[in-house]
Subunit: 372 residues, 2 copies
């Protein structure tokens, strides 16, 4: 992976990440392809309609079904899904945490029960990498010890101790594997934990930055804390995250969260929000969110957002989309997901343009004024 | 509407139907766009990927939601859905029959209860045309009195009496409307009823052919009778259906049904089978049906049908589709629907080529030999 900072504007950065499969201009938003498909879309939608350069797939889901060996048989995620640009895969720990299926963390890993068939599994810092080698992920995430917020300080302390211990195991294992020729085109990111405790975050960041990870992620946010706590935590930890490597804020967030955290120095984001909200009828626009099921759209022959040039806005009216949503037509989910992902991908692309022009703060002001 | 017979081969016909919105080469299969969308697909899928020239929409569904006045506001079905080729709409009677929501037919029309909100409605021979004028349908179907098979002879007799009476009301109303400038680009098809009673079918066909309908449909089949009864009924009634007009067999059917009924002189077909089966994982191929959920496809990196050049077969493997189906991913429904509709549209197109070359029987033999 090559990483280059193209321009900074305050703490906001425009960078270029080059993996074996694509060139990624940051800030970047990664659509979430949970089980190897972004819900309702196929690989050509992502490449030809949305021009996404990198998507995320969930290790937890793909590990359980179809299983990493099957994905490997097909040439990894790229061969299996036919999305031949970059994949980032998480470690699986977050789903074991969020699906809460009899999950129990111990000092060496995470025990959990499959939400599909109840079978028992154990993720360790090295096992989740083996899974991700099979996937051929361009960016692999390490196993971390996640805690729900608000959290007991003792639990936060234990979390960062385990996370650092697991990070060391992971990076050592990865370096060994590379020596044996495995994962040569694959990159590995560390994950900083510490809840909203600034000292814990700082300590964890410093410890992880000593290790030769290809990038650093901030994990364990967007899990119950307020927006303000999230922004403050990111701001507090950022000075301790090596600026020569990509910085990824996991599972975040709203358009506002993206603008705020780019301002604080984040390069990469992922979130199910654009696709999940799409399926609930919530659509993002330059003037804020709308819910397409509202009766006020029944007679409306204008597009979702008159300023949007996405596939859906170029072709369909609010009135027709309102009808499809009310009739619960599957067609709606794809059209709404294409719109929302276009919104997110263009948001980060517009932010990048502003950074390159040294106009991030103007962009931010304009962004908020349009939605007030 | 212009109708021209390009070639006959036995009773099989290759014709050209030209509406205000498209040129339709027959035999033709019409994908079913129940509520104004073929399930899981959008208008561009139908035009650019499948190149469908005509689709069907259900009057019952669109009448209840969003309502014909709203569709009219958007410029009819073409403006509302953005599928700007031809639409055929049924009369609504079939859904009132098949959804069996307190439906009661009397001598003047059909009383039914909405399956959406329980509201009471009454379809008459003229009301269903008013609805279809609002839709701007290229081909409108008249209200008919449908009976489930097997049926009591008395009920069949009543059915054809009512159907003929309603047909006269419908065509007279349509001629009046045209004089007042309504529906000038719209065409109207009569529907022949009579169950599997050959004399009833003959009488109904002769009575309807005396009226200036633009085309004739055979209704009331594929509702409980055997395949053999369906084929025999079509064969028996065909000599009494004016050969100078298009002949449409409603709601039929399997690939075999299409081949058999083209041989008997049918030009047009519609059926939910390709899209409904797609959603259940049943995929059509040149060598018969397969169910993609079968474990034998888990490791299979070949396309659904190696002889198929559809969007799905060009891009995705059986193994990936098996995975998407098992994970109940929405993405699967679109990919499977695109494949099955491609299969049906190419089947009728291949049949047409065979008819034009005077090789229908060779085609039929080959069709069956591949699936034995």
């Amino acid at each position: 992976m090559k990483f280059q900072i193209d321009k900074t504007d305050g703490n906001a950065r425009a960078c270029t990440i080059t993996t074996a499969h694509s060139v990624i201009k940051t800030p970047i938003f990664m659509p979430v392809g949970t089980v190897g498909a972004v819900k309702s879309l196929d690989a050509l939608d992502l490449k030809e309609i949305l021009d996404a350069k990198i998507i995320l797939a969930n290790t937890y889901h793909m590990f359980l079904r179809p299983g990493s060996k099957i994905v490997k048989e097909f040439g990894g995620l790229h061969g299996f899904t036919k999305f031949d640009r970059s994949f980032l895969t998480d470690s699986g720990g977050f789903q074991a945490f969020s699906l809460r299926t009899n999950t129990k963390n111990d000092d060496d890993g995470i025990h959990f029960k499959s939400h599909i068939d109840g079978s028992l599994h154990y993720f360790t810092p090295t096992s989740v990498l083996d899974t991700q080698y099979d996937f051929g992920s361009d960016i692999m995430m390490i196993l971390d010890d996640l805690v729900a917020l608000p959290a007991d300080p003792k639990r936060v302390k234990l979390s960062i101790e385990r996370t650092i211990k697991w990070a060391k195991k992971a990076i050592n294992y990865h370096l060994q594997k590379r020596e044996s020729g495995v994962g040569l085109n694959q990159n590995i990111f560390g994950i900083i934990q510490g809840g909203t405790d600034e000292n814990a975050r700082k300590f964890c960041a410093q410890s992880l930055c000593e290790l030769p990870f290809d990038g650093l992620a901030i994990g364990g946010l967007s899990v119950g804390e307020t927006n303000r706590e999230m922004y403050d935590t990111v701001e507090a930890v950022m000075p301790y995250i090596d600026s020569a490597r990509p910085r990824y804020l996991m599972g975040v967030g709203t358009p506002e969260d993206i603008v705020e955290n780019v301002e604080r120095g984040v390069d990469m984001f992922d979130c199910v929000m654009p696709t999940r909200n799409a399926r609930n009828g919530t659509l993002f626009t330059s003037f804020g969110k709308i819910n397409i099921k509202s009766a006020r759209f029944i007679h409306d022959d204008t597009p979702i957002d008159p300023c949007c040039d996405c596939y859906t806005c170029k072709n369909y009216s609010r009135g027709y989309l309102n009808h499809l949503y009310r009739a619960r037509e599957i067609t709606f989910y794809r059209l709404a997901s294409l719109h929302n992902l276009h919104y997110y991908l263009h948001l980060v692309s517009d932010i990048r343009t502003a950074i390159l022009e040294g106009k991030f703060l103007e962009f931010k002001k304009d962004f908020y004024s349009k939605r007030s």
